[in-house]
Amino acid sequence: MKLGIPRFGIYSSILKSFLESLGIEVIMPTKISRDMIKLGVANSAAMVCYPYKVTLGQELWALEQGATDLIMYDSCGICRMKHYHQIQELTLKELGYNFTMHVFTRKNILKMIGRLGHTSRFQAYRRLKKMYSEVRAIEERTYPVLPARPLKIGVVGEIYTILENDINFDIIRKLQRLGANVHVSLTITDYLNESTERGGKEDIKEAKKLLSQELGGHGFQSIANTIYYGKNNYDGVIHVMPLSCMPESTVEPLVDYVAAKYGIALYRFEIDESAFEVGFDTRLSTFCSMLKRRKLAKGG
């Protein structure tokens, strides 16, 4: 079996070596290239969201490299990402590829690993635990809090776009270079622990008042975490989403409302294949300049 799997930001190499340790041959790109994105876009519906196009492009690439099996991630809740693996499987089979599609969710990880790696559930659990600690370690390394950086910025939004630095123009590193300690509201550790809302019970209650029904994706978390950042003296919040993202664009006005309520600066980036990096950089550095000037005015 040759297993093709899309990248997942800073976790990609951990995921790859974990699967390899199970004795599986893994095909994962070292970077999501322009060509892969083009491939994905060419074979997707126009208004489907960016993570779909990007993962489809990587799957196509993997199949060309000889993959016999594919893994696609599943999101939580009722976001349309939930059935992406089905549409992708259909699309790819229509293109004439022959393969087996596996789906990765929070709930079926143990089962999946046991099946793919031909190990017992207990073995799978032990290995998974080791991987968790590696995941935590890389998160601590990637998002360090340095006292020299003057700003504190929280990032909320759609999980794949936040975490995959190849498609979000490396936003975290750029913010860090601009002098910000970045707090990423959704990490894999939180996702696996099912603790994606930061604040206490009250913050969640406040967010529930704004959005009482299940929306899917991490739309609810975007509201709750903006409340948390607002209450905890963060300088700004950046809301990252793929263009046309259902959960995130639904909560847009609610996130705006919460940000205005707590007086926290907010900037929103809608990312897709047509976004261009120079303009993105200008807006990002302007946002940081604005926060620094605001801070200076408050202090003086």
């Binding site: 790109p29 070292t30 970077k31 290239s33 490396d170 006005p253 705006d256 600066a265 809608e270 047509s274 976004a275 120079v278 303009g279 200008t282 807006r283 550095s285 302007t286 946002f287 300049s289 604005m290 000037r293 605001r294 005015a297």
Partner: protein, 316 residues
Amino acid sequence: MAEYYLGLDIGSVSIKLALLEGDTLTAKAYLKNQGLIPTIQQGLRQMPQVKISGIGVTGSGANFISSLVGGDHVDSEVIAHLVASLKQYPDARTIMDVGGEDSKLMLVNNGVLTDFQMNKVCGAGSGAMLETIASRLGYKIEDVGRIALESKEQLALPAKCGIFMQSEVVSQLNKGRPLSDILMGVCRAMVTNYLMLAKGKKLVEPVIFQGAVAKNQAVARAFEEALGCPVIIPEYPEFAGAVGIALLTEEQMNGRKTNFRGDAILAPEYLIEVKECPDPCPNECELTLLLYQGKLLAVFGSKCGRWENANALDHL
């Protein structure tokens, strides 16, 4: 002795130079962007021969130009526009900048920028829209405002896409509508497009309107109609960015010596080259090289930033 600060605003359509003596604008140049290096050289030749104490660069590709001219300070165009505006109007609450392809909206409270917005994927709320229509009709962009102000009847043109606007304009012409009404309609549509930036935001008076499009009186009137309040236009609205970055540079110098390369910039031996990064790395960056007399001055465009270090340049 008076100190001179030079501000350079690199726009997509035009390049602006502003020379400040203290806080007053003593010389200025407005040039259409026809290739970065020659245009900047031409602009610098138009500046008086004075000793420059600092030079700042803003706009698209500011870092690149900064290493060409020996810039002392680089900042985003939003901040430059803000600083210029607040210098003249300290109680400004809303600042609108409409440029050739970019449009920006800044909200200010007590002299501090609280929110900003820039156009993201569409230029139909910027000067490009007017320019397209004007050239389609065979008029100069400078005349649009004058003609549009003669409008007698209000014409409802659909706002949105600048290309579709062309066919709308032609169909209105076919119906025999006067040109002035049509052009005023286009100005209104542009304003409506621009105000998409203000979606969900409250625009508070006083409103400052700058950028080259602010020279168009018809657009100013359309803004006043749409906002229901007067808009204030500075004397030289198109130089706001250049003035702002000059002021910021002055603020940042603190007795530092300027890096300004002076007349060396005017030499003809500058060359821009585009090359793929030689390192085998999945990023596959496209690098922009700035050469002077065959020697590498600076490299831009690498994601990892390794070529920004001067010592690394020898290995390229």
